[in-house]
Protein backbone atom coordinates (compact mmCIF):
# COMPACT_ATOMS: atom_id res chain seq x y z
CA UNK A 1 0.00 0.00 0.00
CA UNK A 2 1.26 3.45 -0.87
CA UNK A 3 1.94 5.55 2.11
CA UNK A 4 0.98 9.30 1.76
CA UNK A 5 3.77 11.85 2.36
CA UNK A 6 3.34 13.91 5.43
CA UNK A 7 5.69 16.81 4.67
CA UNK A 8 7.11 16.15 1.25
CA UNK A 9 3.83 16.86 -0.43
CA UNK A 10 5.35 18.95 -3.17
CA UNK A 11 2.64 21.59 -2.82
CA UNK A 12 4.89 24.33 -3.92
CA UNK A 13 8.43 25.34 -4.62
CA UNK A 14 10.90 26.62 -2.10
CA UNK A 15 12.36 29.09 -4.57
CA UNK A 16 15.99 30.11 -4.32
CA UNK A 17 16.69 29.51 -0.63
CA UNK A 18 20.20 30.92 -0.92
CA UNK A 19 18.97 34.19 -2.42
CA UNK A 20 16.16 34.32 0.10
CA UNK A 21 18.62 33.61 2.88
CA UNK A 22 20.87 36.41 1.66
CA UNK A 23 17.90 38.78 1.42
CA UNK A 24 16.70 37.83 4.86
CA UNK A 25 20.17 38.30 6.24
CA UNK A 26 20.43 41.70 4.61
CA UNK A 27 17.01 42.60 5.96
CA UNK A 28 18.07 41.32 9.32
CA UNK A 29 21.24 43.37 9.14
CA UNK A 30 19.28 46.38 8.04
CA UNK A 31 16.85 45.80 10.87
CA UNK A 32 19.68 45.38 13.28
CA UNK A 33 21.27 48.54 12.01
CA UNK A 34 17.92 50.25 12.25
CA UNK A 35 17.41 48.88 15.74
CA UNK A 36 20.91 49.95 16.60
CA UNK A 37 20.32 53.41 15.27
CA UNK A 38 16.99 53.54 17.05
CA UNK A 39 18.67 52.35 20.21
CA UNK A 40 21.22 55.04 19.77
CA UNK A 41 18.42 57.51 19.09
CA UNK A 42 16.59 56.24 22.15
CA UNK A 43 19.73 56.47 24.19
CA UNK A 44 20.28 59.96 22.87
CA UNK A 45 16.65 60.82 23.51
CA UNK A 46 16.98 59.30 26.96
CA UNK A 47 20.01 61.43 27.57
CA UNK A 48 18.04 64.43 26.33
CA UNK A 49 15.16 63.52 28.58
CA UNK A 50 17.52 63.01 31.46
CA UNK A 51 19.12 66.35 30.72
CA UNK A 52 15.71 67.91 30.40
CA UNK A 53 14.64 66.39 33.69
CA UNK A 54 17.79 67.58 35.33
CA UNK A 55 17.32 70.99 33.82
CA UNK A 56 13.72 71.00 34.96
CA UNK A 57 14.76 69.94 38.43
CA UNK A 58 17.49 72.57 38.44
CA UNK A 59 15.04 75.16 37.18
CA UNK A 60 12.57 74.23 39.87
CA UNK A 61 15.27 74.37 42.49
CA UNK A 62 16.62 77.60 41.09
CA UNK A 63 13.10 78.95 40.65
CA UNK A 64 12.49 78.87 44.38
CA UNK A 65 15.83 80.39 45.07
CA UNK A 66 15.28 82.90 42.27
CA UNK A 67 11.99 83.95 43.83
CA UNK A 68 13.71 84.39 47.16
CA UNK A 69 16.59 86.19 45.52
CA UNK A 70 14.11 88.32 43.55
CA UNK A 71 12.45 89.33 46.81
CA UNK A 72 15.83 90.07 48.36
CA UNK A 73 16.96 91.92 45.25
CA UNK A 74 13.68 93.86 45.14
CA UNK A 75 14.19 94.80 48.78
CA UNK A 76 17.76 95.77 48.09
CA UNK A 77 16.67 97.76 45.02
CA UNK A 78 14.07 99.61 47.08
CA UNK A 79 16.57 100.25 49.82
CA UNK A 80 19.11 101.30 47.21
CA UNK A 81 16.62 103.64 45.58
CA UNK A 82 15.72 105.15 48.95
CA UNK A 83 19.37 105.63 49.81
CA UNK A 84 20.03 106.94 46.33
CA UNK A 85 17.24 109.49 46.68
CA UNK A 86 18.52 110.40 50.11
CA UNK A 87 22.04 110.72 48.77
CA UNK A 88 20.80 112.84 45.86
CA UNK A 89 19.07 115.15 48.34
CA UNK A 90 22.20 115.28 50.44
CA UNK A 91 24.24 115.94 47.32
CA UNK A 92 21.94 118.81 46.42
CA UNK A 93 22.25 120.20 49.93
CA UNK A 94 26.02 119.77 49.83
CA UNK A 95 26.12 121.45 46.42
CA UNK A 96 24.14 124.36 47.84
CA UNK A 97 26.42 124.51 50.85
CA UNK A 98 29.44 124.32 48.57
CA UNK A 99 28.02 127.16 46.50
CA UNK A 100 27.50 129.20 49.66
CA UNK A 101 31.00 128.35 50.82
CA UNK A 102 32.40 129.32 47.43
CA UNK A 103 30.56 132.64 47.59
CA UNK A 104 31.88 133.24 51.09
CA UNK A 105 35.35 132.21 50.03
CA UNK A 106 35.08 134.60 47.10
CA UNK A 107 34.06 137.40 49.45
CA UNK A 108 36.85 136.52 51.86
CA UNK A 109 39.30 136.34 49.00
CA UNK A 110 38.16 139.75 47.77
CA UNK A 111 38.50 141.16 51.25
CA UNK A 112 41.84 139.46 51.66
CA UNK A 113 43.01 140.88 48.35
CA UNK A 114 41.84 144.34 49.34
CA UNK A 115 43.47 143.96 52.72
CA UNK A 116 46.64 142.63 51.13
CA UNK A 117 46.68 145.54 48.71
CA UNK A 118 46.22 147.99 51.57
CA UNK A 119 48.81 146.14 53.60
CA UNK A 120 51.20 146.19 50.68
CA UNK A 121 50.73 149.89 50.21
CA UNK A 122 51.24 150.44 53.92
CA UNK A 123 54.18 148.11 53.92
CA UNK A 124 55.67 149.90 50.93
CA UNK A 125 55.27 153.20 52.70
CA UNK A 126 56.67 151.73 55.89
CA UNK A 127 59.49 150.18 53.93
CA UNK A 128 60.21 153.51 52.30
CA UNK A 129 60.17 155.17 55.70
CA UNK A 130 62.31 152.41 57.11
CA UNK A 131 64.65 152.71 54.15
CA UNK A 132 64.88 156.40 54.71
CA UNK A 133 65.36 155.90 58.43
CA UNK A 134 67.84 153.17 57.70
CA UNK A 135 69.72 155.50 55.40
CA UNK A 136 69.65 158.19 58.07
CA UNK A 137 70.72 155.73 60.72
CA UNK A 138 73.44 154.47 58.45
CA UNK A 139 74.59 158.01 57.90
CA UNK A 140 74.49 158.64 61.63
CA UNK A 141 76.22 155.35 62.27
CA UNK A 142 78.83 156.30 59.72
CA UNK A 143 79.22 159.60 61.52
CA UNK A 144 79.37 157.84 64.88
CA UNK A 145 81.81 155.38 63.45
CA UNK A 146 83.98 158.23 62.24
CA UNK A 147 83.71 159.89 65.63
CA UNK A 148 84.43 156.61 67.34
CA UNK A 149 87.41 156.06 65.13
CA UNK A 150 88.58 159.58 65.82
CA UNK A 151 88.03 159.03 69.55
CA UNK A 152 89.80 155.69 69.34
CA UNK A 153 92.66 157.35 67.55
CA UNK A 154 92.76 160.12 70.11
CA UNK A 155 92.52 157.63 72.91
CA UNK A 156 95.21 155.50 71.38
CA UNK A 157 97.50 158.38 70.65
CA UNK A 158 96.86 160.40 73.78
CA UNK A 159 96.55 157.74 76.41
CA UNK A 160 99.34 159.33 78.25
CA UNK A 161 97.90 162.80 77.70
CA UNK A 162 94.58 161.65 79.20
CA UNK A 163 96.50 160.06 81.98
CA UNK A 164 98.10 163.43 82.56
CA UNK A 165 94.65 164.93 83.13
CA UNK A 166 93.77 162.30 85.69
CA UNK A 167 95.07 162.89 89.16
CA UNK A 168 95.62 160.15 91.63
CA UNK A 169 95.02 160.71 95.33
CA UNK A 170 98.77 160.92 95.78
CA UNK A 171 99.00 163.58 93.06
CA UNK A 172 96.29 165.60 94.82
CA UNK A 173 98.07 165.27 98.11
CA UNK A 174 101.38 166.42 96.55
CA UNK A 175 99.61 169.40 95.02
CA UNK A 176 98.03 170.32 98.36
CA UNK A 177 101.28 170.00 100.25
CA UNK A 178 103.22 171.98 97.65
CA UNK A 179 100.59 174.73 97.47
CA UNK A 180 100.22 175.05 101.23
CA UNK A 181 104.04 175.09 101.51
CA UNK A 182 104.21 177.82 98.86
CA UNK A 183 101.57 179.88 100.67
CA UNK A 184 103.33 179.54 104.01
CA UNK A 185 106.61 180.71 102.54
CA UNK A 186 104.94 183.66 100.76
CA UNK A 187 103.01 184.76 103.87
CA UNK A 188 106.17 184.62 105.92
CA UNK A 189 108.17 186.66 103.44
CA UNK A 190 105.68 189.44 102.62
CA UNK A 191 104.46 192.52 104.39
CA UNK A 192 100.74 193.04 104.34
CA UNK A 193 98.51 196.13 104.57
CA UNK A 194 94.88 196.00 105.59
CA UNK A 195 93.22 197.71 102.65
CA UNK A 196 90.33 198.77 104.86
CA UNK A 197 92.25 200.41 107.66
CA UNK A 198 95.67 200.94 106.10
CA UNK A 199 97.31 199.06 108.99
CA UNK A 200 100.57 197.45 107.96
CA UNK A 201 101.95 194.18 109.29
CA UNK A 202 105.15 192.21 108.83
CA UNK A 203 105.51 188.56 107.91
CA UNK A 204 106.03 187.60 111.51
CA UNK A 205 102.54 188.87 112.45
CA UNK A 206 100.78 186.00 110.69
CA UNK A 207 99.26 183.26 112.70
CA UNK A 208 99.10 180.29 110.38
CA UNK A 209 97.06 177.22 111.15
CA UNK A 210 97.33 174.32 108.71
CA UNK A 211 94.72 171.62 108.88
CA UNK A 212 93.93 168.67 106.64
CA UNK A 213 92.00 170.53 103.98
CA UNK A 214 92.60 174.17 104.78
CA UNK A 215 95.18 176.72 105.72
CA UNK A 216 94.04 179.63 107.86
CA UNK A 217 96.33 182.64 108.12
CA UNK A 218 95.25 185.62 110.12
CA UNK A 219 96.64 188.76 111.69
CA UNK A 220 94.86 189.84 114.83
CA UNK A 221 94.92 193.00 116.95
CA UNK A 222 93.57 194.07 120.35
CA UNK A 223 94.35 192.60 123.73
CA UNK A 224 91.12 192.48 125.62
CA UNK A 225 89.08 191.75 122.57
CA UNK A 226 90.98 190.11 119.81
CA UNK A 227 89.84 191.06 116.33
CA UNK A 228 91.04 189.88 112.97
CA UNK A 229 92.59 192.63 110.89
CA UNK A 230 93.58 190.47 107.91
CA UNK A 231 92.51 186.86 107.45
CA UNK A 232 93.18 184.46 104.63
CA UNK A 233 91.26 181.20 104.57
CA UNK A 234 92.65 178.82 101.99
CA UNK A 235 90.50 175.73 101.38
CA UNK A 236 91.66 172.81 99.30
CA UNK A 237 88.60 171.44 97.47
CA UNK A 238 88.93 167.96 96.04
CA UNK A 239 86.12 166.70 93.82
CA UNK A 240 84.80 163.22 94.24
CA UNK A 241 87.15 160.58 92.87
CA UNK A 242 86.26 157.93 90.36
CA UNK A 243 87.96 154.59 90.84
CA UNK A 244 90.73 156.35 92.76
CA UNK A 245 91.26 159.10 90.15
CA UNK A 246 90.23 162.75 90.35
CA UNK A 247 89.45 164.58 87.14
CA UNK A 248 86.11 166.45 87.48
CA UNK A 249 86.13 170.17 87.69
CA UNK A 250 84.68 171.66 90.86
CA UNK A 251 81.38 173.53 90.43
CA UNK A 252 78.16 174.36 92.17
CA UNK A 253 78.88 172.21 95.20
CA UNK A 254 81.01 174.98 96.72
CA UNK A 255 78.42 177.72 96.23
CA UNK A 256 77.27 177.35 99.89
CA UNK A 257 80.84 177.82 101.09
CA UNK A 258 81.19 181.04 99.09
CA UNK A 259 77.76 182.33 100.14
CA UNK A 260 78.46 181.65 103.79
CA UNK A 261 81.81 183.45 103.58
CA UNK A 262 80.40 186.58 101.90
CA UNK A 263 77.65 186.94 104.46
CA UNK A 264 80.15 187.38 107.34
CA UNK A 265 81.03 191.06 107.38
CA UNK A 266 83.29 193.09 109.67
CA UNK A 267 83.98 196.59 108.40
CA UNK A 268 87.57 196.81 109.74
CA UNK A 269 88.54 193.25 109.01
CA UNK A 270 89.70 192.21 105.57
CA UNK A 271 89.12 188.54 104.87
CA UNK A 272 89.95 186.53 101.80
CA UNK A 273 88.60 183.08 100.88
CA UNK A 274 90.82 181.15 98.51
CA UNK A 275 89.39 177.97 97.11
CA UNK A 276 92.00 175.73 95.55
CA UNK A 277 91.06 172.95 93.11
CA UNK A 278 93.57 170.46 91.73
CA UNK A 279 91.35 169.92 88.67
CA UNK A 280 90.05 173.42 87.95
CA UNK A 281 86.68 175.13 88.15
CA UNK A 282 83.49 175.08 86.18
CA UNK A 283 82.53 178.07 84.09
CA UNK A 284 79.53 178.71 86.28
CA UNK A 285 81.61 179.10 89.48
CA UNK A 286 84.26 181.20 87.75
CA UNK A 287 81.56 183.53 86.44
CA UNK A 288 80.00 183.85 89.90
CA UNK A 289 83.31 184.62 91.58
CA UNK A 290 84.28 187.16 88.97
CA UNK A 291 81.12 189.09 89.73
CA UNK A 292 81.16 189.06 93.53
CA UNK A 293 80.94 192.57 94.95
CA UNK A 294 81.72 192.87 98.62
CA UNK A 295 83.38 195.78 100.37
CA UNK A 296 85.46 193.84 102.83
CA UNK A 297 85.83 190.26 101.60
CA UNK A 298 87.49 188.80 98.55
CA UNK A 299 87.09 185.41 96.95
CA UNK A 300 89.70 183.69 94.79
CA UNK A 301 89.55 180.50 92.82
CA UNK A 302 92.89 178.81 92.23
CA UNK A 303 93.15 176.28 89.40
CA UNK A 304 96.22 174.11 90.09
CA UNK A 305 95.78 172.17 86.84
CA UNK A 306 96.14 175.30 84.68
CA UNK A 307 98.06 177.36 87.26
CA UNK A 308 95.50 180.17 87.08
CA UNK A 309 93.66 182.40 89.60
CA UNK A 310 90.11 183.70 89.03
CA UNK A 311 88.72 186.66 90.94
CA UNK A 312 86.77 189.89 90.52
CA UNK A 313 89.43 192.00 88.93
CA UNK A 314 87.09 195.00 89.09
CA UNK A 315 87.58 195.14 92.86
CA UNK A 316 90.80 196.91 93.79
CA UNK A 317 91.19 195.23 97.14
CA UNK A 318 90.69 191.83 95.59
CA UNK A 319 93.04 192.56 92.74
CA UNK A 320 95.66 193.75 95.23
CA UNK A 321 96.05 190.32 96.81
CA UNK A 322 95.59 188.16 93.72
CA UNK A 323 99.30 187.83 93.18
CA UNK A 324 99.62 186.18 96.59
CA UNK A 325 97.68 183.07 95.51
CA UNK A 326 99.13 182.43 92.08
CA UNK A 327 100.64 178.90 92.10
CA UNK A 328 104.08 178.10 90.84
CA UNK A 329 103.93 177.92 87.07
CA UNK A 330 104.15 174.59 85.28
CA UNK A 331 107.27 175.64 83.46
CA UNK A 332 109.03 176.41 86.75
CA UNK A 333 108.10 173.04 88.21
CA UNK A 334 109.22 171.22 85.06
CA UNK A 335 112.50 173.08 85.00
CA UNK A 336 112.99 172.27 88.66
CA UNK A 337 112.23 168.62 87.96
CA UNK A 338 114.68 168.47 85.07
CA UNK A 339 117.36 169.99 87.27
CA UNK A 340 116.82 167.35 89.94
CA UNK A 341 116.93 164.52 87.36
CA UNK A 342 120.14 165.88 85.85
CA UNK A 343 121.66 165.96 89.31
CA UNK A 344 120.85 162.28 89.67
CA UNK A 345 122.26 161.52 86.21
CA UNK A 346 125.45 163.17 87.26
CA UNK A 347 125.35 160.96 90.36
CA UNK A 348 125.35 157.89 88.07
CA UNK A 349 121.65 157.09 87.69
CA UNK A 350 120.96 155.94 84.11
CA UNK A 351 117.19 155.36 84.09
CA UNK A 352 114.13 156.83 85.85
CA UNK A 353 110.68 155.32 86.33
CA UNK A 354 107.85 157.89 86.22
CA UNK A 355 105.87 156.63 89.25
CA UNK A 356 108.97 156.35 91.41
CA UNK A 357 110.20 159.85 90.46
CA UNK A 358 106.76 161.36 91.24
CA UNK A 359 106.72 159.62 94.62
CA UNK A 360 110.26 160.53 95.44
CA UNK A 361 109.95 164.25 94.71
CA UNK A 362 106.27 164.51 95.63
CA UNK A 363 105.21 166.10 92.38
CA UNK A 364 102.31 165.22 90.14
CA UNK A 365 102.99 162.64 87.48
CA UNK A 366 102.21 165.28 84.87
CA UNK A 367 105.32 167.26 85.91
CA UNK A 368 107.49 164.14 85.74
CA UNK A 369 106.22 163.21 82.28
CA UNK A 370 106.68 166.73 81.01
CA UNK A 371 110.24 166.69 82.34
CA UNK A 372 110.85 163.32 80.61
CA UNK A 373 109.55 164.66 77.29
CA UNK A 374 111.68 167.80 77.42
CA UNK A 375 114.76 165.71 78.17
CA UNK A 376 113.91 163.45 75.19
CA UNK A 377 113.51 166.54 73.00
CA UNK A 378 116.92 167.69 74.18
CA UNK A 379 118.17 164.19 73.25
CA UNK A 380 119.27 163.49 76.79
CA UNK A 381 117.31 160.27 77.01
CA UNK A 382 114.79 157.95 75.47
CA UNK A 383 111.30 156.93 76.67
CA UNK A 384 110.34 153.24 76.92
CA UNK A 385 106.60 152.69 77.23
CA UNK A 386 104.89 149.85 79.18
CA UNK A 387 103.87 148.31 75.80
CA UNK A 388 107.55 147.62 75.27
CA UNK A 389 107.83 145.65 78.51
CA UNK A 390 108.45 148.29 81.23
CA UNK A 391 106.33 148.35 84.39
CA UNK A 392 105.82 152.09 83.94
CA UNK A 393 107.19 154.70 81.59
CA UNK A 394 110.97 154.73 81.77
CA UNK A 395 113.41 157.46 80.84
CA UNK A 396 116.64 155.82 79.80
CA UNK A 397 119.62 158.14 79.75
CA UNK A 398 121.77 158.20 76.61
Amino acid sequence: MNKEAMLFRDEGEMGDVLSEAKRLLEETRALEENIQSQRESIDEYREHVEDARCLQAIKELIGEEVEDIKDVVAGMVNEWNEKKNQLEKEEEEIAMQQQAILEREQKIENRTNEFETEQRERMNKELQNISQLSANVEEQLAGIEKTKNAVDNILTEDTEAIRDRLLSKEDVEFLRLNYFSLMQSRLASKRVVNPLTGEEYGGEDWKIDVEKEELIAKITKGVIRERISVGFEIKFIVPEDEEGFVYRKTGKEISDVITGFIQTNDKNSFNALTLVSPTGWSEWVIDKVKNIRNMNNSVYLVDLSEREVFFNDGNKKTKLFAEWFVPVSMEEEITDMIAKLEEEIEGGVLQFRADKVASKYQVPRKIVMSAFREMVEEEKGEIISPEEGAKDILLVVR
Binding site: L7, E11, V17, E20, L25
Partner: protein, 167 residues
Protein backbone atom coordinates in the same frame (compact mmCIF):
# COMPACT_ATOMS: atom_id res chain seq x y z
CA UNK B 1 36.27 44.08 12.18
CA UNK B 2 33.88 45.18 14.89
CA UNK B 3 31.21 42.80 13.63
CA UNK B 4 33.68 39.94 13.56
CA UNK B 5 34.64 40.78 17.06
CA UNK B 6 31.00 40.58 18.07
CA UNK B 7 30.64 37.20 16.44
CA UNK B 8 33.85 35.62 17.51
CA UNK B 9 34.50 37.28 20.81
CA UNK B 10 36.18 36.89 23.06
CA UNK B 11 39.80 37.18 21.94
CA UNK B 12 39.55 38.17 18.25
CA UNK B 13 42.72 40.24 17.70
CA UNK B 14 45.53 39.50 15.24
CA UNK B 15 47.53 42.64 16.06
CA UNK B 16 49.24 41.10 19.10
CA UNK B 17 51.26 37.96 18.61
CA UNK B 18 50.05 36.14 21.70
CA UNK B 19 46.37 36.62 20.66
CA UNK B 20 46.74 35.46 17.07
CA UNK B 21 46.52 31.68 17.68
CA UNK B 22 43.53 32.16 19.99
CA UNK B 23 41.81 34.32 17.40
CA UNK B 24 42.31 31.64 14.75
CA UNK B 25 41.01 28.98 17.15
CA UNK B 26 37.95 31.10 17.91
CA UNK B 27 37.21 31.51 14.18
CA UNK B 28 37.49 27.83 13.57
CA UNK B 29 35.35 26.91 16.61
CA UNK B 30 32.66 29.28 15.40
CA UNK B 31 32.74 27.75 11.90
CA UNK B 32 32.53 24.25 13.28
CA UNK B 33 29.64 25.02 15.63
CA UNK B 34 27.59 26.83 12.99
CA UNK B 35 28.23 24.06 10.47
CA UNK B 36 27.15 21.55 13.10
CA UNK B 37 23.83 23.44 13.43
CA UNK B 38 23.29 23.26 9.66
CA UNK B 39 24.33 19.64 9.75
CA UNK B 40 21.70 18.83 12.41
CA UNK B 41 18.98 20.78 10.56
CA UNK B 42 19.70 18.97 7.31
CA UNK B 43 19.87 15.63 9.17
CA UNK B 44 16.37 16.38 10.50
CA UNK B 45 15.14 17.10 6.97
CA UNK B 46 16.80 13.86 5.82
CA UNK B 47 14.98 11.89 8.51
CA UNK B 48 11.63 13.47 7.52
CA UNK B 49 12.34 12.68 3.85
CA UNK B 50 13.17 9.11 4.79
CA UNK B 51 9.87 8.77 6.65
CA UNK B 52 8.02 10.15 3.66
CA UNK B 53 9.83 7.67 1.47
CA UNK B 54 11.81 10.21 -0.42
CA UNK B 55 14.96 8.19 -0.91
CA UNK B 56 16.25 10.65 -3.53
CA UNK B 57 16.15 13.55 -1.17
CA UNK B 58 17.87 11.47 1.53
CA UNK B 59 20.66 10.63 -0.88
CA UNK B 60 21.29 14.27 -1.78
CA UNK B 61 21.21 15.39 1.82
CA UNK B 62 23.59 12.56 2.71
CA UNK B 63 26.00 13.91 0.16
CA UNK B 64 26.01 17.42 1.72
CA UNK B 65 26.17 15.98 5.23
CA UNK B 66 29.30 14.06 4.30
CA UNK B 67 30.82 17.19 2.85
CA UNK B 68 30.05 19.15 6.07
CA UNK B 69 31.51 16.35 8.14
CA UNK B 70 34.72 16.33 6.19
CA UNK B 71 34.90 20.10 6.31
CA UNK B 72 34.44 20.18 10.06
CA UNK B 73 37.22 17.64 10.43
CA UNK B 74 39.49 19.87 8.37
CA UNK B 75 38.53 22.85 10.44
CA UNK B 76 39.02 21.23 13.80
CA UNK B 77 42.21 19.41 12.93
CA UNK B 78 44.01 22.12 11.05
CA UNK B 79 47.33 23.10 12.71
CA UNK B 80 49.08 26.33 11.80
CA UNK B 81 51.60 26.43 14.64
CA UNK B 82 54.50 26.82 12.22
CA UNK B 83 52.84 29.63 10.32
CA UNK B 84 54.96 32.85 10.28
CA UNK B 85 51.82 34.70 11.31
CA UNK B 86 51.87 33.04 14.70
CA UNK B 87 55.66 32.89 15.14
CA UNK B 88 56.81 36.38 14.14
CA UNK B 89 56.49 39.36 16.41
CA UNK B 90 56.04 41.88 13.65
CA UNK B 91 53.45 41.18 10.94
CA UNK B 92 52.62 43.61 8.17
CA UNK B 93 49.29 45.43 8.26
CA UNK B 94 48.47 44.10 4.76
CA UNK B 95 48.79 40.50 6.00
CA UNK B 96 46.55 41.21 8.98
CA UNK B 97 43.98 42.92 6.74
CA UNK B 98 44.02 39.89 4.47
CA UNK B 99 43.39 37.55 7.41
CA UNK B 100 40.46 39.62 8.57
CA UNK B 101 39.06 39.67 5.04
CA UNK B 102 39.27 35.86 4.88
CA UNK B 103 37.46 35.54 8.18
CA UNK B 104 34.78 38.03 7.11
CA UNK B 105 34.12 36.10 3.88
CA UNK B 106 33.95 32.82 5.85
CA UNK B 107 31.31 34.15 8.24
CA UNK B 108 29.29 35.83 5.47
CA UNK B 109 29.07 32.52 3.61
CA UNK B 110 28.48 30.58 6.80
CA UNK B 111 25.51 32.81 7.69
CA UNK B 112 23.96 32.20 4.26
CA UNK B 113 24.35 28.45 4.66
CA UNK B 114 22.86 28.46 8.13
CA UNK B 115 19.91 30.61 7.05
CA UNK B 116 19.34 28.57 3.87
CA UNK B 117 19.23 25.27 5.78
CA UNK B 118 16.70 26.83 8.17
CA UNK B 119 14.58 27.94 5.18
CA UNK B 120 14.73 24.44 3.69
CA UNK B 121 13.45 23.04 6.93
CA UNK B 122 10.67 25.66 7.09
CA UNK B 123 9.55 24.87 3.53
CA UNK B 124 9.55 21.16 4.30
CA UNK B 125 7.28 21.85 7.25
CA UNK B 126 4.98 23.78 4.95
CA UNK B 127 4.94 20.90 2.35
CA UNK B 128 6.48 23.05 -0.38
CA UNK B 129 9.14 20.57 -1.40
CA UNK B 130 8.82 20.26 -5.14
CA UNK B 131 12.28 21.76 -5.82
CA UNK B 132 14.01 20.57 -2.61
CA UNK B 133 16.73 18.60 -4.39
CA UNK B 134 17.67 21.67 -6.38
CA UNK B 135 17.87 23.79 -3.26
CA UNK B 136 19.90 21.11 -1.43
CA UNK B 137 22.38 21.19 -4.29
CA UNK B 138 22.63 24.94 -4.04
CA UNK B 139 23.32 24.71 -0.34
CA UNK B 140 25.92 22.01 -1.11
CA UNK B 141 27.58 24.39 -3.54
CA UNK B 142 27.61 27.14 -0.94
CA UNK B 143 29.27 24.77 1.53
CA UNK B 144 31.85 23.98 -1.11
CA UNK B 145 32.43 27.67 -1.60
CA UNK B 146 32.91 28.07 2.15
CA UNK B 147 35.36 25.19 2.11
CA UNK B 148 37.30 26.86 -0.69
CA UNK B 149 37.54 30.11 1.24
CA UNK B 150 38.83 28.21 4.28
CA UNK B 151 41.29 26.40 2.06
CA UNK B 152 42.56 29.72 0.61
CA UNK B 153 42.92 31.03 4.15
CA UNK B 154 44.95 27.96 5.12
CA UNK B 155 47.11 28.43 2.06
CA UNK B 156 47.71 32.07 3.04
CA UNK B 157 48.78 31.02 6.53
CA UNK B 158 51.29 28.41 5.40
CA UNK B 159 52.75 30.44 2.55
CA UNK B 160 55.90 30.94 4.55
CA UNK B 161 56.73 27.26 4.41
CA UNK B 162 56.48 27.47 0.65
CA UNK B 163 59.06 30.25 0.46
CA UNK B 164 56.50 33.12 0.58
CA UNK B 165 55.94 35.27 3.65
CA UNK B 166 53.32 37.10 5.43
CA UNK B 167 55.38 40.02 6.48
Amino acid sequence: MEKLKEKIIPGYDYRVKKNRLNSDRAVRDKLSRELKKSYNTLKEVSDLAYKDGRRDVVEHIKDILNTIDLFRNEIENATYGLSPLFKQDKVSDEALDRMVEFDKNLFDELEVITKATDLVYDYVLKGETSDIILQIRKVKRSVDSLRNIFSDRADFLIKKTDGGGVT
